[in-house]
């Protein structure tokens, strides 16, 4: 009976989703298998037969029937590679979050992060992609034009009336095919959930979190995203967010903030007198690996957001991204060196991420020196944000997701109104509007879902489970059974 209470809801939900995904499509799918995919496959065969099997038989070469435009191929190739780079960010998040939390919760964190990617991709195919980029389908579902457009939902990704041929070539978009578009955007989508995952780590109930994550990635993120990237009302207003300082990062940060408040701090985090204990993560090596991988993936996150392989723009974006990250890292390291007399690696790493988040909204708008300034300020901001959240606001965020993604996401979005080609009071206003609107929606959504979960399944594991670790409580597993763990530490002194 116990697992029913714990497990049935997420399972039911996911099974339902799978069902929804297939049922309306099975009939259409039959056509597709012989139609849509069949067409694709004919092309495949033409190319593949010519190319695959006979590398040693030059005489067999036949060029693909219709020569595809080289520029289109390059653009498409870059966006696909960018999508892969964004994918590797999920490994970055997984190692970062694992490293910054305790060994006894490792299995739980890895499970959450693996599942978020899987669920994110599946639900984005099922509903998110079409919800975020509307414009087709039943206009009667265009409930509040520009604000809430459900018209694309009924059509699953490949089963609408659109001719696949047009989706696969430059007629769909000068930059990439429909599949490439989905691939790149789906990898983005899961990112915002992962941000929440880190903030709620070490005490959230697995089943509740997975339900929240599924709803967040399939509904909330696409709706706010569509306001700008789906050419919605914020886009019309003039709001600018190049690669998602707000659409991805501050949105994820807001959700993280609300969930953290609903959840409460980890056991032993705050003392009776209100003072705060540090609860160090179990491997700064893993954390550093995560930050390097995130930086690496960010080349695709920002560079791919050019949505073409335009040499000037993409290379500019790579340079501004790198300089902002570097400036953020150095700034946070120096601030911690000054403020605490010794340089703090965890802060330097956060500073790099802060710089990356900060430049994301305007990576294509900034000159070199501006990217350094934006990144540097983000690095300083993140230092004080971590301390403010931790000690003043008593927000217990084990990995600093709110400081990095929320605070620096807002900063980066506003910076587009301060620096770069778009700088100006009006633009600053648009940016503020975008931050506020998306923030408000996300906070409201998260509050509703979070409170509903709290009232039903519960959000928080028991205190016993927290002490024992979520790996045992939620998974009956241990991540590192061969190493002797040590429980004799300092902060136990204060846990009393």
């Amino acid at each position: 009976m116990r697992w029913i209470a714990r497990g049935i809801t997420p399972i039911a939900l996911i099974v339902l989703a799978f069902g929804l995904m297939w049922m309306p499509n099975t009939i259409l799918a039959q056509d597709m298998a012989t139609g849509v995919a069949g067409e694709a496959v004919e092309v495949v065969d033409a190319v593949a037969d010519a190319v695959v099997g006979e590398p040693q038989q030059p005489e067999a070469q036949t060029a693909p029937a219709t020569p595809i435009d080289a520029t289109f191929m390059i653009n498409n190739l870059w966006i696909m590679i960018a999508g892969m780079l964004v994918f590797i960010m999920h490994l970055g998040f997984a190692t970062l979050e694992t490293g910054l939390t305790r060994a006894k919760n490792t299995v739980n964190i890895l499970f959450k992060n693996s599942m978020i990617v899987c669920i994110g991709i599946l639900t984005y195919a099922l509903i998110g992609f079409n919800l975020m980029y509307p414009g087709f389908g039943d206009t009667s579902l265009n409930l509040i034009p520009g604000w809430l457009d459900l018209s694309a939902i009924p059509g699953f990704i490949t089963v609408d009336a659109k001719d696949l041929a047009t989706q696969m070539g430059p007629d769909y978009n000068p930059g990439y095919t429909w599949y490439t578009d989905f691939f790149f955007q789906a990898m983005f989508a899961a990112t915002c959930c992962t941000i929440v995952s880190g903030a709620v780590a070490e005490r959230v109930k697995l089943s509740s979190f997975l339900i929240f994550a599924t709803l967040f990635v399939s509904i909330a993120y696409p709706i706010t995203g569509s306001w700008k990237w789906g050419t919605g009302w914020l886009d019309a207003l003039g709001f600018y967010d190049f690669a998602g300082s707000t659409i991805v990062h501050s949105v994820g940060g807001w959700a993280a903030l609300v969930m953290v408040i609903l959840l409460g701090p980890r056991l032993g985090k705050y003392n009776a007198d209100g003072s705060s204990n540090a609860i160090p993560g179990h491997s700064l090596t893993l954390a550093a690996i995560g930050v390097f991988l995130l930086w690496f993936g960010w080349f695709g996150f920002n560079g791919g957001s050019v949505l073409s392989a335009d040499p000037g723009l993409v290379s500019l974006v790579l340079v501004t991204t790198s300089l902002a990250a570097a400036a953020g890292g150095v700034a946070a390291a120096l601030v911690s060196w000054f403020a605490a007399s010794k340089p703090d690696l965890s802060m330097a790493l956060n500073g790099i991420l802060a710089g990356l988040v900060g430049i994301t909204a305007g990576a294509d708008q900034m000159a070199i020196w501006e990217s350094v300034v934006i990144g540097g300020i983000a690095g300083v901001l993140v230092y004080f944000a971590v301390i403010a959240f931790d000690r003043v606001l008593k927000i217990d965020d084990p990995v600093g997701a709110t400081s990095v993604h929320l605070v620096c996401g807002i900063w980066g979005t506003l910076a587009v109104g301060i620096f770069g080609a778009k700088a100006g009071m009006a633009q600053f206003g648009y940016q503020l509007a975008g931050v506020a609107a998306m923030g408000a929606f996300t906070v409201a959504f998260t509050l509703v879902v979070g409170l509903a979960l709290k009232a039903t399944l519960g959000l928080r594991v028991s205190d016993e489970e927290q002490i024992e670790g979520l790996d045992l409580g939620e998974h009956d597993m241990a991540a590192y059974p061969d190493y002797q763990q040590t429980t004799i530490k300092s902060y136990q002194l204060r846990e009393a």
Binding site: E468, M477, A478, T487, I488, E495, A496
Partner: protein, 112 residues
């Protein structure tokens, strides 16, 4: 002089240390250990298989005290470590024939 060996739950270490400090006992040595007793271990899973883990992580605390302090120390430990749940642990006490402080060469009660 007596040595008290206390097998306790890891979570009790903080309060215990505080309590002993109040008594003026400022020396102790702690070791990671795994206990087996009435508190049953848990079941773990791995790739579809179950396994019973009999041993539970504990802390073994060694506290050498002057014989005069023995009773009150035992009392303090028992109180601080007790949650009333199985697995709270045990105290083992034995007599020490000598204590020496390495740094100064002080002996016995002077070394405590």
């Amino acid at each position: 002089m007596h040595m008290i060996e206390a097998v306790i739950k890891p979570a009790a270490l903080g309060s215990l240390k505080k309590r002993l400090a109040e008594l003026g006992i400022l020396g102790m040595t702690a070791l990671e250990c795994k206990g087996y007793g009435k508190q049953r271990g848990h079941t773990e899973r791995y790739r579809g298989a179950r396994m019973d883990v009999g041993f539970v992580p504990k802390i073994l605390l060694k506290i050498a005290v002057k014989s005069d302090d023995l009773d009150k120390t035992i009392e303090a430990i028992t109180e601080a470590a007790c949650t009333g749940k199985v697995g709270d642990g045990k105290l083992f006490v034995y007599e020490l024939s000598r204590v020496i402080r390495v740094r100064t060469g002080e002996k016995d009660n002077d070394a405590l």
